[in-house]
């Protein structure tokens, strides 16, 4: 049995026929070919698959594709606008906020949302804000710095 869904992903509308058990993460990766969203666990623990659903960060392995029907999704591929990196992306590069890069898309999405809600977070607030995203490479030090730098860039740029 399949259901037809229409989802806006990074500003483009897609209509597909999907199995009800298809996870949103698999829909994005396998159906749409947006492989920047990664899957790192099977218990909603790691956060590698984090995306924005109507502007709120969610773990796309914990939603079915059918639940995204009629909603709007932003993935890492949609962070940059008109060829300009999102301030969080630029800051991850500048502050060496990534090593293997596997957790990075989900981590950047979480930070983008954090800064959206709290443009000037303290270090403690940043650490709290990325609790749902695990990184095994960086010890979080430079991820926190990247979030701080992104906050400064965003403040300076507005």
């Amino acid at each position: 049995m399949s259901y037809e869904i229409t989802v806006s992903v990074n500003g483009t509308e897609y209509t597909d026929s999907v199995e009800p058990r298809l996870l949103l993460a698999d829909y994005l990766r396998d159906t749409l070919g947006l492989t920047g969203t990664h899957i790192g666990c099977d218990t909603t623990s790691c956060g590698a698959c984090t995306i924005l659903l109507d502007g709120s960060s969610v773990k796309s392995c914990t939603l079915f594709a059918v639940q995204a029907n009629g909603h709007s999704v932003t993935t890492v591929e949609g962070l940059a606008k008109d060829g300009e990196l999102h301030p969080v992306q630029a800051a991850f590069h500048e502050e060496h906020g990534l090593q293997c890069g596997f957790c990075t898309p989900g981590m950047m999405i979480s930070i983008a949302q954090l800064l959206d809600r709290n443009p000037n977070p303290t270090e403690a607030e940043i650490r709290e804000g990325i609790l749902g995203n695990l990184c095994r490479c960086t010890g979080y030090h430079n991820i926190v710095k990247a979030a701080q730098t992104a906050a400064q860039t965003a403040a300076g740029g507005s």
Binding site: D42, L134, G139
Partner: protein, 785 residues
């Protein structure tokens, strides 16, 4: 931009990774791709009495199912690549033949058109088991009545290894103090954020088999795959695409690599296997798992005279590729640490148990050794009531630049241990802290500081030495520098990064040496059809050995280019200098040729020196004469909540000396991440098995990977003591943090609790353990107002 060694060049890898354009193995899609799912044993030890795949193959969408019997002629035993004397080598079949020996042992595979169908169908495979008795602990497994895993290994002993240096009896006669301690270095799960995965594609026309694998060792994997399956090495191509972290756990040949490759060959269609996380916890190697009985002896004035130990190292159900190396060479030979210890002894038992195989995990043996040394030094200092820093300083080996041999027989290259200790103390204010600690204790707050002065072995290389110690393959590294006719450069390295940033640091070295724009240099890695040869990335070897190979190639390229320049400018080679990317005639600066110009001439070949072959490229194999020996001093400060026993790491200082630094930004990132893993072991991480061999910490919900809130920001410093073992003067730098951190943090916890008589706490130092200690101390605990 021409960059220099020592610049914090931003990473070349980043743009694709921050935009979602990296290609990890699960992102590889081929036409007609099939998905493979593995049926794994739910029992830790059992006889297989029957396997029935018929229900699975009848499910629509299922293409095939295989058991060991179906693939017997192509599935050899998985090999062991490092064999210490007397190692028992029972068969390690990629698919279990008649017995399963750990939960997760592969039993059968199902292949389907769709990932979900493959997983469903695997559930439909019926396997009948007859359960056998189980043993999970290394000490228990050595008991005479323990269940036996392999007929070839009585008492489950896979290997016994020993080192004895110096005269223990003489040292013991002088000793005034003996401190003994049982120390457990618990089992860990590596937890690379990307699990393992394989895509295999067989071309029946060319008979080439291509394997995309999330691996640290494409070339070794090609060789071992060929050895196991009989498929010619020349017709195997291994590609390591983006690899999402590894930490040692992707450094082996795994059953799934062999199975997926052979199934693709059998079916003539591409096949993908992607490991689930819970599957990863069972099927990918674990780390550490030592039970150690240690003894330190010395004098009341603080002189350490001897250190010895007996180690029961759990190797799991089978020997993984490098398992015998880790608790022997990389552990026992490292027990001198930074100290002038007269006598050192180590006896290691590698023991089979009904658990996931144990092999290298970041640091691999050296964290276990450093933890042992630095814990025992603290226990000794506590016993003689002396300051732990003073005891370390008293016993420290003095600065040396031309080698220092320790009783275990290894030769450190260069060192200045007091230098890193002093630098760390400068950053810390030790005296101020002790004052604060006393004041805090009066207020009912428990503060503690811990020190860890380490020396480690990195850049696993000298092949002849390694072979004499058990290595089954050479440990050189290979590199090609190819200058294109238009002057851009491709660097082919046999190292295989998975987060270390080689594309940046290797390009940086080439840019500095050749004096050309770093944007004109591309570094390629991780593909056996591109890089003729390579060994891979592990044991902090890539810059020390791979960087050395790159330096050799660059020198060869420059020498040939200089010859061409001299010839074309009509002077002798000795009259030409290479300055800022130009070949300049001595004393006549206006007579010069640029590097790109020479590149063009090398290929145009209209006017080359007599007998010179056209082209401008060089390939090198670098096999240094010794390992490199990084060192440093890390300091941890903790605060313990005496109501809950919760430990909070409030400050972390790391001073490392890794010789010359190529890219300080990348180095700092390595230390941050490494320290986080060592801190994770000290405070939270542990893999737990039930007595019947079930992995209790079997998912990311149950195993504590450190999160952002657990950790502080790090304060780093360094000193620079170059090595003479490679042209760059650089030592390995990938594991220092992990090696240093665990003892620093545990020493800090003990320091916070020593006023109530605590001398040792086994890792992880959980709030429960601490609370029980506080509770047992009763009145010793300062009362709250």
């Amino acid at each position: 931009m021409v960059v220099q060694i020592g610049d914090s060049v931003r990473r070349i890898e980043d743009p694709r990774l921050i935009t979602g354009n990296g290609t990890y193995v699960d992102d590889v899609v081929l036409p007609g791709l099939l998905h493979l799912s593995i049926v794994r044993s739910p029992y830790a030890h059992a006889k297989i009495t029957r396997i029935d795949v018929s229900a699975a193959v009848n499910i629509p969408g299922v293409v095939a199912a295989f058991t060991a019997a179906d693939l017997a002629d192509q599935l050899g035993s998985l090999p062991v690549g490092w064999i210490v004397e007397g190692t028992k080598l029972p068969d390690h079949p990629p698919l279990a033949i008649d017995t399963v020996r750990y939960v997760g042992d592969a039993v059968a595979v199902v292949v389907a058109d769709d990932k979900a169908i493959a997983v469903d169908a695997a559930e439909s495979v019926t396997v009948d088991y007859e359960q056998l008795p189980v043993v999970v602990g290394s000490e228990e497994a050595q008991k005479p009545d323990a269940p036996q895993l392999h007929a070839e290994a009585p008492e489950n002993i896979a290997f016994e290894w020993e080192v004895n240096g110096g005269d223990w009896e003489a040292a013991a006669r002088e000793a005034e103090v003996v401190v003994k301690q049982k120390i457990i270095n618990q089992r860990l799960i590596p937890n690379a954020m990307e699990t393992r995965g394989v895509v295999a594609d067989y071309n029946p026309g060319s008979k080439q088999l291509t394997l995309w694998s999330s691996t640290q060792i494409p070339h070794l994997l090609r060789m071992l795959f060929s050895a196991v399956t009989g498929h010619p090495e020349s017709r195997v191509r291994v590609i390591a695409p983006e690899v999402g972290g590894a930490f040692g756990s992707k450094l082996y040949i795994y059953a799934e690599e062999v199975i997926t490759g052979i199934v693709a060959k059998q079916l003539g269609r591409p096949v993908k296997w992607i490991e689930g996380r819970q599957e990863n916890y069972q099927a990918t190697t674990h780390g550490r798992d030592h039970v150690t009985y240690a003894e330190i002896i010395g004098k009341r004035d603080g002189t350490i005279l001897g250190l010895r130990c007996t180690v029961h190292a759990n190797v799991g159900a089978y020997l993984s590729t490098f398992a015998p190396l880790i608790p022997t060479i990389y552990f026992g030979l490292m027990l001198a640490g930074q100290y002038k210890i007269r006598a050192i002894g180590c006896k290691t038992f590698g023991v089979f148990t009904n658990t996931t195989p144990v092999d290298a995990y970041r640091g691999a043996g050296r964290p276990e050794a450093t933890y042992l040394v630095e814990r025992m030094v603290d226990l000794f200092a506590q016993e003689i009531k002396r300051d732990p820093v003073a005891v370390r300083r008293k016993n420290m080996i003095g600065a040396f630049r031309r080698g220092h041999e320790v009783p275990t027989g290894v030769m450190y290259d260069t060192g200045n241990y007091k230098g890193t200790l002093n630098k760390a103390l400068e950053m810390f204010d030790y005296r101020g802290f002790r004052k604060e600690q006393r004041a805090a204790r009066r207020e009912g707050r428990l503060l503690g500081v811990g020190f860890s002065c380490y020396v480690e072995i990195s850049g696993a290389a000298p092949s002849a030495v390694a072979a004499s110690l058990g290595a089954g393959a050479g440990l050189w590294e290979s590199n090609t520098v190819r200058v294109h006719p238009t002057g851009s450069v491709t660097v082919y390295t046999g190292t295989s990064p998975h987060g270390q940033g080689h594309e940046t640091s290797f390009a940086q070295i080439a840019s500095a040496e050749l004096g050309i724009d770093i944007d004109n240099i591309e570094v390629l890695h991780g593909d056996t059809d591109r890089q003729q040869f390579g060994t891979g990335t592990f044991g902090s070897r890539s810059i020390a050995v791979g960087g050395g190979a790159l330096s050799l190639s660059l020198k060869k390229v420059l020498a040939k280019a200089k010859e061409i320049a001299a010839h074309q400018m009509g002077v002798s080679d000795s009259q030409v200098d290479f300055v800022n990317g130009n070949f300049v005639v001595e004393d006549i600066p206006e007579r010069s040729m640029g590097f790109a110009e020479i590149a063009w001439e090398a290929y145009h070949a209209k006017d080359l020196p007599h007998g010179m072959e056209p082209g401008l490229e060089a390939t090198s194999f670098f096999d240094p004469a010794n390992f490199t020996w990084p060192f440093g001093c890390h300091i941890a400060v903790v605060e313990i909540n005496q109501d809950t026993g919760d430990v909070k790491l409030i400050r972390y200082i790391g001073v490392d000396d890794v010789g010359n630094i190529i890219n300080p930004m990348i180095l700092a990132g390595m230390v941050h991440g490494g320290a986080a893993q060592g801190i994770g072991q000290a405070l939270w991480e542990t893999a737990v098995y039930s007595d019947d061999g079930q992995l209790i910490t079997g998912s990311m919900l149950d195993y504590a990977v450190p999160n952002a809130k657990n950790l502080p920001s790090f304060e780093l410093g360094h000193t620079v003591t170059p090595t003479r073992e490679n042209p760059l003067g650089a030592k390995g730098a990938g594991e220092t943090g992990t090696i240093a951190a665990s003892p620093a943090v545990v020493n800090a916890c003990v320091d916070a609790l020593k006023h109530i008589g605590v001398t040792h706490i086994d890792m992880p130092v959980t709030s429960e353990k601490v609370w029980r200690l506080l509770d047992a101390a009763g009145k010793a605990r300062p009362r709250r107002k």
